[in-house]
C-alpha cells in the first residue's frame, strides 16, 4: 500500500467508524427494550466521542500553528520593508500583552474590534447598493428585472409607512411563501451536496487530504 493508499485507508476506517458511532450511539431505542440496550448504545457512542475530542484538539493546535505561520510571513514581509506588516505585528503583540495583563477586560474589544467590524459591515451597504444598481446594466433580462423588483418590494415593505401597507403585505407573503420555498430548496441542495462530498471523502474518491 502506497502513501496515498495509506491515507485513504485511514480515512475510510475513521470515517465509517465516526458515522456509525454518531448514527447508532446514544440511541437505545434502536436496540429494543432489552436490559443491555443502554450499555450497547453507550459503547457505540464511545468511538465517535473519542474521535471528535481528538479532532477538536488537533484543530486547536492547527489554529495555533496557522497563527504562528501568519506571524512568520509578516516578519518576512517586514524584513523586505513592508511597513503595514509592522502595524499588524504591533497590533498582535499589543493585544496579547493587553489580554494577559488585563484578564477579563473587554474594553480593547469594544474600542477596536467592534468599531472596525461595524464600520466594515457598514461599508458593505455601499457595495451592495452599487451592485444592485448595476444588475440592470449588466443583465437587462427578465431575471435581472425580477431580482431588482423583488429587492425593492422587500426594501419598501420594511419601511414603517402607512401608505406602503399593501407593499408590506406583499413583502410579508413573499417572505413567508416563495422565499421559504426557495430557501428550503437551497438548504436541501446544500445538504445533498454535503452528503455527496462527505461520502466521496469517506470513499477516498475526493482526496482533499493529499495536500
Amino acid at each position: 500500500m502506497g502513501p496515498a493508499g495509506m491515507a485513504a485507508f485511514v480515512a475510510f476506517v475513521v470515517g465509517v467508524t465516526t458515522i456509525l458511532s454518531l448514527l447508532l450511539g446514544d440511541n437505545p431505542a434502536l436496540f429494543g427494550a432489552g436490559p443491555g440496550s443502554d450499555e450497547l448504545a453507550r459503547r457505540l457512542a464511545l468511538p465517535g466521542d473519542v474521535l471528535l475530542r481528538l479532532v477538536a484538539i488537533v484543530i486547536a493546535v492547527s489554529i495555533v500553528i496557522g497563527i504562528a505561520n501568519l506571524l512568520f510571513v509578516h516578519v518576512g514581509r517586514l524584513a523586505r520593508g513592508k511597513i503595514y506588516s509592522a502595524v499588524m505585528l504591533a497590533s498582535f503583540a499589543f493585544t496579547m500583552y493587553w489580554s494577559i495583563t488585563n484578564k477579563g477586560d473587554a474594553s480593547l474589544l469594544e474600542a477596536v474590534q467592534v468599531p472596525i467590524e461595524s464600520a466594515l459591515a457598514a461599508l458593505l451597504f455601499v457595495s451592495l447598493a452599487l451592485g444592485g444598481s448595476r444588475v440592470m446594466q449588466k443583465r437587462a433580462d427578465i431575471w435581472g428585472l425580477l431580482f431588482v423588483a423583488l429587492v425593492l418590494i422587500v426594501l419598501l415593505g420594511s419601511l414603517p409607512l402607512a401608505e406602503l401597507a399593501p407593499v408590506k403585505a406583499w413583502s410579508d407573503w413573499l417572505m413567508a411563501i416563495p422565499v421559504s420555498a426557495g430557501a428550503r430548496a437551497i438548504l436541501l441542495g446544500i445538504a445533498l451536496g454535503s452528503v455527496v462530498a462527505g461520502v466521496r471523502a469517506l470513499l477516498g474518491q475526493d482526496r482533499a487530504y493529499r495536500g
Partner: protein, 227 residues
C-alpha cells in the same frame, strides 16, 4: 480603558475605515489599510487566545483532574487522547519533509473525514429529513382554509421545481437540445423564479442589515462630534 478613551479610539478607527469611500488617494488610502492591518493583528491574537483558553486549556485542566473523565474509559484514556491529539497536531509541522508526507496526510485524513462524517450526519438528521418532512406534510386544519392550502401547495411546488433547477443532467446536451423536454424547461423556469426570489430576499435583508449598522455608525460619529 475609560469610556472616553474607548469612544475616541472607536471614532478614529471608524473614520479610518470610512476613508475607503474616498478612494485610493495618497495619505487617505493609507488610513484604511492601517485600520485593516490592526484588525487582522487583533483578530489573530483573539483567535489564539480563544483557541488556547477555550479548547486547549480546559482539556489540559480536565486531564489533570483524575476524578473527571471525558469518556467511560477513565482519566488515563483522556491523557492518551490528549497527547495523541497534540502529537497529531505537531505532525502537521512535518509537512515540508517530503518523505514524511504520508504521515501528515494521514492526520489530515482523520481531521477531514471526521468533519465530513459530522457534516453527513448533520445534513441528514438536521436538514434533509426535517425539511423534506416539513415540505410534504399537509397541516390538519387545511380543509376549511383554501388560502393556507394554496400556500402549502406553492411551497411544495417551489421547493421541488427549485431542486429540479439544480439538476444539471441536460448540460451535456448544450442548452435547449432535444434531450431537454418542454416540461423539463418549464419546471426549470418555475424553479428559477423561486431561487431568484429567495436570493433577492437574502440580498434585500443584507442591505437592510448593513444599512442599520451604517446608520448606527454615522449616528455614533455625529454624537461623538457633538460632545
Amino acid at each position: 480603558m475609560t469610556e472616553n478613551a474607548i469612544a475616541l479610539v472607536s471614532f478614529v478607527l471608524t473614520l479610518m475605515v470610512f476613508s475607503y469611500l474616498l478612494g485610493d488617494l495618497p495619505l487617505v488610502g493609507v488610513l484604511y489599510r492601517i485600520a485593516v492591518y490592526i484588525f487582522v493583528g487583533m483578530t489573530a491574537a483573539f483567535t489564539l487566545i480563544v483557541s488556547y483558553e477555550g479548547l486547549i486549556l480546559p482539556y489540559l485542566q480536565d486531564i489533570q483532574n483524575t476524578e473527571t473523565s471525558w469518556t467511560t474509559l477513565g482519566n488515563s484514556a483522556d491523557v492518551v487522547i490528549f497527547f495523541t491529539a497534540l502529537t497529531f497536531g505537531l505532525l502537521l509541522l512535518l509537512k515540508p519533509i517530503r518523505s514524511l508526507t504520508w504521515l501528515t496526510n494521514s492526520v489530515y485524513a482523520v481531521v477531514i473525514v471526521v468533519g465530513a462524517s459530522v457534516a453527513v450526519v448533520g445534513a441528514l438528521s438536521g436538514t434533509l429529513f426535517p425539511l423534506l418532512h416539513a415540505t410534504v406534510t399537509i397541516p390538519e386544519d387545511l380543509s376549511s382554509d383554501f388560502g393556507a392550502l394554496l400556500d402549502s401547495l406553492i411551497i411544495f411546488v417551489g421547493t421541488m421545481t427549485a431542486l429540479f433547477y439544480f439538476h444539471y443532467q441536460t448540460r451535456a446536451n448544450s442548452g435547449a437540445g432535444p434531450g431537454q423536454s418542454r416540461l423539463g424547461r418549464g419546471f426549470r423556469h418555475i424553479g428559477k423564479v423561486f431561487i431568484v426570489t429567495a436570493l433577492a430576499a437574502v440580498y434585500a435583508s443584507t442591505i437592510l442589515t448593513s444599512l442599520t449598522i451604517l446608520s448606527e455608525r454615522v449616528s455614533f460619529l455625529f454624537q461623538f462630534g457633538a460632545t
